[in-house]
Symmetry: C2
Subunit: 238 residues, 2 copies
């Protein structure tokens, strides 16, 4: 099967492929937080684009997770930190979720068919799931406001490395090559390398950087969240 | 001054900055060929988007360089290879130029003000010119049909390295960091590394790969082509 990496939602339209699964990656922090929520028993997550939609769902009794430019709006129950979801009492709940980049990329990818939520914390589970699918794979980096993000690129490189090593995938895509080379450099000392990320500095300025080490830690969970018909659920529960 | 790299014309609109100069990079082969043409005495180059425009100019007696998907259309006088312009008799001529990616990126950048043509073969001359400008710099990779191209990314990384080392520029842009890291890897053995490029394989399949080594050779010329008011001229002649 063919493997591609798309560095920004701004040109995801160039990668349309009806036989592909798309893995959305937003390491800091949406896809990491979504995986964490499933690990703490959440039943389903509904991504929405606007805060107005989120408030509409809140009026109907849903729990709301939301973030804009890193910050949780006052009305939301949770922000965008994976730590927000590490708590008792979430079993069986549905959460409505809206973020600056991640949820919008998920909805965009959802329009094209099979959509998977990827992060460092579930990277091996996602790689193993993808090798069973018999589909081409596009890794879509959520980026930052449609720009290239280094943390999403290196996570794509780590996932691409696993997929190519499985023998089930091949690639002639320059973004795959670049992301693998960037991952090779970053993985030599990831806890140092992240200081180069623009988003590390954004999170630090907002005093939200406590999550960085967790977000960069591979294989904290076996969850494989799938986005289908407007709702994200855990593949393990299907 | 601030330095940014934009990996695709598809999201160049996100980088609008009225105080910036934009360097357009299309290593294989448009910007390398443009630099070569000036080195052989061409007076000016008019980039046009469509082949119909190029034919319109031909009817008025202009020389035409053109390429689509690597191949020279029959009606054109030159293709997109820098070797096409290594000949006597070009002194003082004006050439109308239309390619798949490069000339379109040049026109797009031109709308925003100060536009410079960059390639490996004029990289030091461009870097020195930019440090005299007192302007922010955006390096725009022409890419391949709006996708990320590794050869343009590493050329951006080589240029970004020079600009940051000059002390005149700073950057917090993830694309700058990524391109510099990719250049570090590539520069260890550039004549091997290019085998990874998707475009190397495209050129090889068309038997157009004789130009690769030249396109990747830094500092073959001191030309600094500038695009202003619809025409590219050599800064040295202004």
């Amino acid at each position: 099967m063919n493997l591609e990496v798309c560095f920004s939602p701004a040109f995801y339209n160039l990668y349309q492929n009806p036989n592909a699964a798309t893995v959305v990656v937003d390491v800091f922090r949406a896809t990491t937080a979504i995986c964490t929520a499933f690990d703490y028993g959440v039943k389903s997550i509904i991504p929405v684009t606007t805060l107005e939609e989120a408030q509409f769902y809140q009026d109907q009794g849903y729990l709301i997770a939301a973030e804009r430019n890193g910050i949780k709006p006052d009305f939301a129950d949770f922000g965008n930190s994976p730590f927000n979801f590490m708590q008792e009492g979430l079993e069986g709940k549905t959460i409505v979720y809206s973020t600056t980049n991640g949820t919008q990329a998920i909805q965009m990818a959802g329009a094209s068919g099979h959509t998977v939520i990827g992060a460092f914390i579930n990277i091996s589970a996602v790689a193993e799931y993808l090798t069973t699918l018999n589909k081409d794979v596009i890794i879509l980096c959520a980026g930052w406001k449609d720009r290239f993000s280094l943390e999403d690129a290196i996570c794509s490189g780590a996932l691409a490395t696993k997929l190519l090593e499985s023998g089930a995938f091949t690639s002639t895509c320059d973004s795959v090559t670049a992301s693998i080379d960037l991952w090779r450099i970053a993985s030599m000392n990831l806890m140092e390398y992240h200081r180069k990320f623009a988003h590390t500095h954004r999170l630090k300025n907002l005093m939200l950087d406590d999550v960085i080490e967790f977000c960069l830690s591979p294989d904290q969970t076996r969850t494989v969240p799938l986005y289908r018909n407007g709702v994200i659920t855990d593949y393990r529960n299907l």
